[in-house]
């Protein structure tokens, strides 16, 4: 099993960017990541990525250059970015590739998501009665967690404030192997 390193990272600023498609944001981030890594795009051997509302993430390939590598589109909801990183990590760890790109991007309209319940194996009434909402699900989860572990609303607010602080979402990485006991380091 190979050790796996994050050798470069790039991020497009969060926000509403008129005149740019979701794909544009992804291409910008990819270029920054490749530049940061110090290797050439031609040296990237595999790619994984996803987008929920901005098309197929493999559309990054022709914009970066058709080098003949495989791009596996990943679709795993909010976890698409993490699943893409995990896929790249596994591919390199297994020794199949030396280098890989993981990329995720999106642009959403304002307001809540409105997925079709049937596409999720759920009855239509689940959406009609007002239960098909991502944030609602997470709110209920944290409500129980706060109850079980005695977490105050003030503590939750501090976590939210940290998450909304743009400085904390800037790309960070460390030049040490990710993983250990078969799991990627959640801090990376």
């Amino acid at each position: 099993m190979n050790d796996v390193y994050v050798i470069g990272a790039g991020i497009h600023p969060f926000g509403r960017h008129e005149g740019k498609t979701g794909l544009d944001l992804g291409v910008d981030a990819t270029k920054l990541a490749v530049e940061d890594s110090g290797i050439a795009w031609e040296d990237v051997e595999a790619a994984f990525g996803g987008s929920s509302a901005s098309g197929n993430a493999d559309a990054v390939l022709p914009r970066m250059g058709l080098t003949g590598i495989q791009f596996i589109n990943v679709a795993n909801g909010c976890a698409t970015g993490g699943s893409s990183v995990l896929s790249a990590y596994w591919a390199i760890k297994a020794g199949e590739f030396e280098t890989a790109l993981a990329v995720g991007f999106d642009k959403h309209p304002r307001g809540s998501f409105n997925p079709d319940p049937v596409r999720y194996g759920l009855p239509q009434w689940y959406g009609e009665t007002g239960m098909m909402l991502t944030t609602q699900f997470f709110a209920m989860k944290i409500q129980r967690y706060m109850h079980d572990y005695g977490i105050s609303t003030k503590s939750l607010a501090k976590v939210a404030a940290k998450a909304y602080d743009q400085r904390s979402v800037d790309a960070i990485y460390v030049l040490q192997p990710i993983g250990g006991r078969g799991r990627p380091d959640p801090g990376v």
């Binding site: 009855p123 009434w125 009609e128 007002g130 239960m131 409500q143």
Partner: protein, 136 residues
């Protein structure tokens, strides 16, 4: 959804209809339809359970899939939660009444709830309400 999902009882109460696997005894909701239907026996859950978690939907959901009134002027926030029925199953549902009165662990009755739709009609669903409490 009525009868397949819930049945009405007296005084606005309801009983949730679930499926019990004929071999394993596992209880699932909603009761599977189609190919798996025959594997599950139709059962009615006890009339009440306990509140496992909840939240209040303050942001209007989009239509579709939401069938209720969601215009910024007329939208009415509503509570939703998970109700635990013994160690059998947890059911997610709308919660009738005042969200400020909710506490995790409190006893909740299965009830029916009607809410207005933009065309002036209304949709009736199962919901939960604090046991012996006032309902809106």
């Amino acid at each position: 959804m009525k009868d397949d999902i819930f049945i009405s009882a007296e005084r606005g109460k309801a009983r949730i209809v679930a499926g019990k696997h004929r071999q394993t005894g596992q209880v699932v909701f909603p009761r599977p339809q189609g190919a798996e239907e025959d594997d599950f026996q139709r059962i009615e859950l006890p009339p009440s359970g306990t509140l496992w978690t909840y939240t209040v939907q303050r942001i209007p959901p989009k239509n579709p899939p939401f069938a209720g009134v969601n215009s910024p002027e007329d939208y009415q926030p509503y509570a939703v939660g998970y109700i635990q029925f013994g160690d059998q199953v947890m059911i997610e549902g709308r919660i009738a009444g005042d969200p400020d009165s909710l506490e995790i662990g409190m006893r909740m009755d299965s009830v029916t709830l009607s809410f207005p739709t933009p065309d002036g009609a209304e949709m009736t669903t199962y919901a939960f309400a604090p046991a012996n409490g006032r309902r809106s």
